[in-house]
């Protein structure tokens, strides 16, 4: 289906966003001697091997002890380091929430919590590992910045941007190979949404892997004569409220799209902005109060309604509610 669509963005290569993190971390390590890496026994999965190899003296294996890893990282900041922790998204958040809350967020420590295998696209491992609540948990924490980049290039750029950003941050990425459709030389500006496609009938605010699905949805909608605006919300907190209001001010309705629970996700944050400033129809694309299951990423995104076809339906519904 994608091949016959007139897409505004194309790709020649697919790659996992976690590799964007791994390559970004390596470059960050070369740029800044204070960058250190910590990993809870998932070096291969997090793509931290290259950093470990080049900077063995700045890499710390913590074993399968995620809470300890978070505590160590917080302590390292008191010693002047910029720690990047790496494990799966569920072990990066829910398992260690109190450590993050007390020792990082409340204490304003300059730790970068880097989380892979987030969401349904983890695939075959199933519900235990497919966290869909992590963005909600992290965005609720005062002082926490929450970033969900959309492809390999953007994940790499976000990783590099975090080195110069002082303060607690959560960086969420994933496992599957995914189209690379943003530029390799992009400058990543934390908190600044990116207007991917201009439109006038409906605003689609997407984050993470679903930005690509939104790009596909825009082409599908265009074939039906509907003009959709696609905005990449790579930073969920702080949210670019001005970009949201400017877009919905023009289109009059919106769709949010994320690989996360509807409860507590990006859509909730957008709803707050709209309700306070510009009450407008908003349709949510996300997981509706359910755990995941095993399957391929494509199968799971389809089953839980997190793909371009469902974004198209949601966009039409939002427009009909204007």
């Amino acid at each position: 289906m994608e091949k016959i669509l007139d897409l505004k963005y194309t790709y020649t290569e697919k790659k996992d966003t976690r590799s964007g993190f791994g390559d970004g971390l390596l470059e960050a390590g070369r740029n800044n001697p204070n960058v250190v890496g910590l990993c809870a026994d998932l070096i291969g999965s997090l793509k931290m091997g290259a950093f470990q190899k080049e900077f063995p003296e700045r890499f710390f294996q913590t074993g399968i002890a995620e809470a300890n890893m978070i505590g160590l990282a917080a302590g390292m900041t008191i010693g002047g380091k910029i720690p990047f922790t790496g494990t799966f998204a569920n072990f990066s958040t829910g398992r260690v929430y109190d450590q993050i809350r007390q020792s990082i967020a409340y204490s304003e420590k300059n730790v970068k919590i880097c989380a892979s295998h987030a969401g349904l696209t983890l695939g075959e491992d199933g519900a235990t590992h497919q966290i869909l609540e992590d963005v909600g948990m992290m965005k609720m924490l005062p002082n926490m910045t929450v970033i969900v980049p959309c492809d390999y290039n953007q994940t790499k750029a976000a990783t590099l941007a975090l080195v110069d950003h002082h303060g607690p941050a959560y960086l969420r990425f994933g496992r599957p190979n995914w189209p690379i459709f943003t530029p390799s030389d992009q400058k990543f500006e934390i908190g600044k949404a990116i207007k991917m496609i201009e439109g006038k009938d409906v605003s689609i605010f997407a984050t993470g892997h679903l930005v690509w699905e939104a790009v596909v949805a825009e082409a599908m909608l265009r074939e039906e004569g509907i003009s959709a605006e696609v905005i990449n919300i790579h930073t969920i907190k702080p949210l670019d409220e001005a970009a949201i209001l400017e877009s919905v001010g023009k289109t009059g309705c919106a769709v949010s799209a994320e690989e996360h629970q509807v409860n507590g996700g990006l859509g909730d944050s957008i709803a707050q902005v709209l309700v306070r400033n510009m009450p407008s129809p908003l349709e949510y694309i996300g997981v509706n109060d359910s755990f995941g299951e095993s399957g391929t990423p494509t199968q799971l995104l389809e089953k839980y309604g997190l793909n371009a076809e469902n974004i198209v339906k949601a966009a039409k519904k939002a427009i009909s509610r204007k």
Binding site: F60, G63, N68, G75, M76, I78, G79, D98, S103
Partner: protein, 280 residues
């Protein structure tokens, strides 16, 4: 300072702890009294931390994992000149910076602590950073005994041993009581020393109210090259006030007027007794 001078300090600190807990009508009385002798030696004899060098990269770091005994820390930091002691009159009050657990908004405090089981991992992280930089500073952390039930401590000990952190000094305020009752009833800790040794620490046991012994032991760190030093300081919860000693109810009790007066008189008597002893 001589041991006698330090003993005066300890008694004076105890009076102040009670004074400000009484004023605040809140606070963790028993635990502050059990660890105050340790804090006295740390801040007056061991740590190279003073207001003028608190941003120095080579300052020793102190992390109080048993954050609820914050009154002891606040009183000692005031005495060391980090802020005027009169500010403690606002302890635990609305809009005061002197809240019920350590906060780095207070000069002299490195980190927000108080949720139990976090301080040791944090201290391990600081010690790793120190090793990376070949820095001269040491990291001291004070644990409560009740918080040893938090598994995070044992994760942190494994890492401290794995990374051979002999720049880390862990002090256990072993008063053997926690909020619900004796450790041995709530969650058995013993045999403790072999546990710490099995986790790779170099362990010494001391009387946590014997100032000379605390000082000597802290001057001896690291006990062994390549190992974290761990001091089991046997203490008495509520130490220094007869009716508070070893009494669970004083975990966070506030004395009434009569009790307060009795406590002050007991401490005053000990100060007078000390003054009659001629220093050798």
């Amino acid at each position: 300072m001589t041991i006698q001078e330090l003993a005066f300090k300890s008694l004076d600190y105890r009076k102040k702890i009670l004074k400000y807990i009484k004023l605040a009508n809140a606070g963790h009385t028993g635990g502050s009294l059990s660890c105050i002798d340790i804090l006295n030696i740390l801040y007056n004899e061991i740590l190279n931390v003073l207001p003028h060098n608190f941003s120095d990269k080579n300052r020793d770091r102190y992390i109080q994992s048993k954050g609820h005994s914050v009154e002891a820390l606040y009183v000692v930091l005031a005495d060391r000149g980090f802020y005027p002691e009169s500010l403690l009159e606002t302890l635990c009050q609305y809009q005061s910076h002197f809240i019920g657990h350590p906060t780095k908004k207070i000069p002299g405090i490195e980190q927000n602590t108080g949720a139990l089981g976090h301080g040791l991992a944090l201290s391990v992280g600081i010690a790793i950073a120190g090793k990376m930089d070949r820095a001269s500073y040491r990291v001291f952390t004070l644990l409560g005994d009740g918080e040893l039930a938090e598994g995070s401590n044992w994760e942190a000990l494994m890492a401290a041993s794995h990374y051979e952190l002999d720049n880390l000094v862990i002090i256990l305020d072993y008063n053997k009581l926690q909020i619900t009752g004796p450790n041995k009833e709530v969650m058995k800790l013993e045999p403790l020393s072999p546990k710490f040794e099995a986790f790779g620490c170099s362990v010494r046991e001391i009387n946590g109210h014997d100032l000379a012994s605390i000082k000597q032991t802290l001057q001896d760190v690291p006990f062994e090259k390549g190992k974290p030093s761990l001091i089991i300081a046997h203490t008495i919860k509520g130490k220094g006030v007869s009716y508070m000693e070893n009494a669970i109810k004083w975990h966070h009790g506030v004395p009434n007027d009569a009790q307060y007066q009795q406590a002050m008189e007991e401490l005053e008597d000990r100060i007078i007794n000390l003054q009659t002893i001629v220093p050798q």
